[in-house]
């Protein structure tokens, strides 16, 4: 019996798929598992020190004798079973609040100025909802600091006194135009960018050399050792750019903290 052409074609397709599945879906990956067991590769492949950790206590507070990792959006932080980025956009007010709050907290932890552009002194976004007579144009009729329920960061905007926000009010829906205020914080804040932003993976094992340098005095003080000794360990655990131009210099926080514990 001769099969109809369309059926013969699909049977050939099925046979091709099965053959290729055995070859590409079993033989290839399993052979590579075996190769990964060879001496020389065995100790390198799947090194757990590539995966970042949170150096916080059970309540999520920084353990002061350890260098701190970056913020993480993976589960409750550094959870390899739920890797994630925040995915919040460049104008997201939620993300701005996160950045401002982190900067304030890190500033206090390290004893430096935690102010940044577009952030209030109390660690939220410096964002106004500006109401104008004709929507987007005309004189300002009302101004609300959308993230502050206490004293607004600004007394007046274009001559109109700034109100504090009330719980549950949606000022965008009411017709306010969201207006972030730059403020007078230095353009290069003391707390570096990587310290206040979440990584893509949520498992970033690294911090920038600048963020490590910021943490050196605290860690040295907590451990009762010289800052120079800590700086030396930071340098030893800094990965430079591969071939001098790939990526950015980065400090592996886990290896650094392990080295500190071993010192």
């Amino acid at each position: 019996m001769r099969l109809p052409t369309w059926l013969a074609q699909h049977l050939a397709a099925l046979r091709a798929l099965l053959v290729l599945t055995v070859l590409l879906g079993l033989a290839y990956p399993l052979a590579m598992v075996a190769v990964g067991q060879l001496p020389g590769l065995r100790d390198r492949a799947g090194d757990t020190r590539l995966i970042g950790q949170a150096f916080t206590d059970a309540d999520g507070n920084p353990v002061r004798r350890y260098f701190q990792s970056r913020p993480s959006a993976a589960g409750d932080g550094y959870d390899p079973t739920a890797t994630s980025a925040s995915n919040l956009g460049p104008e997201s007010l939620d993300l701005l609040n996160d950045v401002c709050a982190r900067s304030k907290a890190i500033g206090e932890l390290e004893g430096v100025d935690g102010r940044r552009p577009f952030c209030t002194g109390d660690g939220v976004g410096a964002v106004l909802a500006v109401f104008r007579r004709d929507g987007f144009t005309g004189p300002v009729t009302r101004v609300v600091s959308v993230d502050q329920t206490g004293t607004p960061f600004l007394a007046a905007y274009e001559g109109v006194p700034v109100e504090s926000a009330k719980e549950g009010e949606d000022y965008v829906a009411l017709g306010g135009v969201i207006t972030p205020i730059r403020g007078d914080a230095p353009a290069e804040p003391r707390v570096p960018a990587d310290a206040v932003t979440a990584s893509g993976s949520g498992l970033d094992p690294h911090i920038s050399p600048a963020y490590a340098a910021l943490q050196v005095p605290r860690v040295a003080r907590e451990r009762g050792i010289a800052e120079d000794a800590v700086r030396r360990l930071v340098a030893e655990n800094t990965d430079g750019r591969a071939l001098g131009f790939m990526g950015e210099p980065a400090v592996n926080v886990l290896e650094l903290n392990l080295a500190l514990d071993g010192a």
Partner: protein, 545 residues
Amino acid sequence: MAGWIFAGTLALAVAAAYRPFGDYLFRVVTGTRSSVVERGVYRLVGVNPAAEQTWGVYARSALAFSAVSILFLYLFLRVQDKLWLSLGLPAVTDHIAWNTAVSFVTNTNWQAYAGESTMGHLVQMSGLAVQNFVSASVGIAVAVALIRGFSRRTLGNFWVDLIRITLRVLLPICVVATIVFLAAGMVQNLSGGTDVTTLTGATQHITGGPVASQEAIKELGTNGGGFYNTNSAHPFENPTTWTNWLQIFLILLIPFSLPRVFGRMVGQNRQGYAIVAVMAVLALGSIALTVGFEIHGAGTVPQAAGAAMEGKEVRFGVPDSAVFAATTTLTSTGAVDSFHDSYTALGGMMPMVNMMLGEVAPGGVGSGLYGLLVLAIITVFVAGLMVGRTPEYLGKKIGAREIKLASLYFLVTPALVLIGTAAAFATGNNTTALNAGPHGLSEVLYAFTSAANNNGSAFGGITVNTGWWDTALGLAMLLGRFLPMVLVLALAGSLVRQKSVPASEGTLPTHQPLFVAMVVGVTVVLVALTFLPALALGPLAEGLS
């Protein structure tokens, strides 16, 4: 500065590979001898490798293979809980299984799921990763069939192309790349993971899996589907600054070398150089803009933070992450080493624009070349209109039938993107976007742009594992892959029937800088006319306000 050197060395490496690797690809697709293994496979599949196919049979073979693949993968996902290495994970739900099956068979690798909490190891390596290989081969095969429409009297045999490209090109390179990745620290085991105690006494579950072998084909086949949710940002998928470079190189290797195959097959290497020049101009321009926008770091949050570091890894930094974002969307890859949703408004617009170009610079493996050849045909036609004569390309007349097929090809993806985006808003499904305002529109627009162009990257804040989104994006991926593919094969069938006409004085030379500039112009103008209104409501509104 280091970032520009990073991009420059990649360009040099891809340029250096063009001739030797392109020549190797040429020998693979034009060779007449079969190896012992290949003969065995042909026998098992039951095909005669010497049989030539018409365009209809070639198309039906490709479609039958893809249809069987979707069905097989769907069933695989639906029963994964009963199989070996499922890690105790449940069966994948029906709409995610449909979406994922279509996604991997269409070379899209859009992921409506998080790998580490959805997929067992068997379904990853024997289901998803197999499609990473074969969907790439199908794309290259169709591109080669189109070239044969110009260069030969017959189109070849789909099964031979599929098997040869898989076994002689993709598999050997992947074996080497996997071993390099293992040395860099990537994981490759069948373990369900291990619990470690952190320095502060908490427990952390370190995941395992056959990751390295999947990474190699993820990049080489311009697939992009990550083993883990965070793709090439994850330290196990991209451990070092140099694996980042290598992954981008693997992404670009095949798409940028295929014009060499084109040039050699049509017997004029300069025609290949013209096509690769179009790709290079568009790619270099796009990479420079993306890196520039990200380094500049405009926008409230990037300025508050001091750099556009949200969603980026410290080891890669801002410029190298931006190079990855540009290349993954200039090709149909969609792997990410940083999260585009948190990019600056204009930096995040560039990946969208790259996809809207139709992914032709250099595009996905195979699909990039056939997409650009369609644009070249449209350019020849536009040029012919200017001087009032019947256009021809490589000795083949571009008549009514050819230009109809080329125009229909071009219209498929914009129609899917714009109708899909409008449908999401009309039905209220846009509310699953994470971000508010113009950025929320960008998330919806990005999703359909990515699906219809078979890219697979996302503005990841949007929730897309609902029934509506899985179904709609599944359809966009399916139609965005196979409608253009059938149209290309019909075009090949139409060209292959024509006798070649000798070039005359009135023939537009298609190997000179003038033609390269015209193709670039036509590509950019078509995209701008189609998508500028949509972009104005999303990233442009966000970035310029």
